[in-house]
Amino acid sequence: MTGMAISTEELRAIAARVRAEAAAAGELVPSKVGEIHWDIPDAARAAVLEDITSGIYQQAVREVIAGDPDMIQL
C-alpha cells in the first residue's frame, strides 16, 4: 500500500474525523467489560496453550503467510 503525500495536519484531520465517527457508532468501547471469556472446551484451550508455547502456532503462521507479503511483520 502506497501512502499519499499528505501533511501531518491532514492526517490528523482525517484521524479526528474517523475517531469521531467511530466513537459516535460506539466502536471505541467494547460491548462488554470484564474477564475475557473464550467459549471453547478446556481441552481445546489446553491444546492452544501447548501450541503457542511449543512454537507450533508460530510455525503455522509462517506457513500461512508464506508468499503473502501483506501478512508479514517485516
Binding site: 500500500m1 502506497t2 501512502g3 499519499m4 503525500a5 499528505i6 501531518t8 491532514e10 492526517l11 482525517i14 484521524a15 474525523r17 474517523v18 475517531r19 465517527e21 467511530a22 466502536e27 471505541l28 468501547v29 467494547p30 460491548s31 462488554k32 467489560v33 470484564g34 474477564e35 475475557i36 471469556h37 473464550w38 467459549d39 471453547i40 472446551p41 481441552a43 481445546a44 484451550r45 491444546a47 492452544v48 496453550l49 501447548e50 501450541d51 503457542i52 508455547t53 511449543s54 507450533i56 502456532y57 508460530q58 503455522a60 503462521v61 506457513e63 500461512v64 503467510i65 507479503p69 501483506d70 501478512m71 508479514i72 511483520q73 517485516l74
Partner: protein, 145 residues
C-alpha cells in the same frame, strides 16, 4: 488502549499465565485491548491449519458438535476485545506515509484512531518505522523470558 498482534491476542484469550502477558489480560478485562482484522484473520487461519499441532490433533479427534463449538469460538472474538473495521481505517491507511503492507498499515491506522500503542511479539522494522513516523509507540512483548 493497546492494539495487540495475533500471538499476544491468542495468549490473552487462551488465558496463558505469563509475566509478560498478565498486564494485557488485565487490560483486556478493562476493555482496553484491540486487535486488527489482519491479525485476527492470520490467527484464524493459523490456528485451524491442519498439521502437527496439538490443537489440530484435538480437532481431528473431536466430535462434530465440539468442532462446531470450537469453530464458532474462533470465528467470534470474545466480547471485550475490539476490532475496528476497514471502513473506518482505510482513509487513514491511504494517508500514511511510506510503502506499507496491509498488516502494517492497518495496525498503525488503528493505533492512530484509538490513540493507542501497539504491542507485538515479533520485532518488525517496518512496523516500528511506520509507527514512529506518526508518533505511535510499539512495545515488543518478550514471551520467551
Amino acid at each position: 488502549l493497546i492494539v495487540v498482534d495475533d500471538l499476544l491476542l491468542l495468549h490473552i484469550v487462551a488465558r496463558r499465565t505469563h509475566p509478560a502477558v498478565d498486564s494485557y489480560v488485565a487490560s483486556a478485562a478493562r476493555g482496553d485491548v484491540f486487535t486488527t482484522g489482519s491479525w485476527y484473520w492470520r490467527l484464524a487461519r493459523a490456528i485451524t491449519r491442519p498439521g502437527r499441532g496439538v490443537f489440530s490433533q484435538y480437532l481431528g479427534t473431536s466430535s462434530a458438535d465440539e468442532r462446531l463449538r470450537v469453530g464458532a469460538a474462533v470465528e467470534n472474538l470474545p466480547h471485550g476485545l475490539g476490532v475496528l473495521s476497514l471502513r473506518r481505517l482505510v482513509p487513514i491507511m491511504a494517508a500514511l506515509p511510506g510503502q506499507l503492507n496491509l498488516l502494517t498499515a492497518e495496525a498503525v491506522a488503528a493505533a492512530i484512531v484509538l490513540a493507542a500503542s501497539i504491542a507485538v511479539t515479533t520485532r518488525s522494522n517496518l512496523l516500528t518505522q511506520a509507527a514512529a513516523a506518526v508518533n505511535v509507540s510499539v512495545e515488543l512483548v518478550d514471551l520467551h523470558s
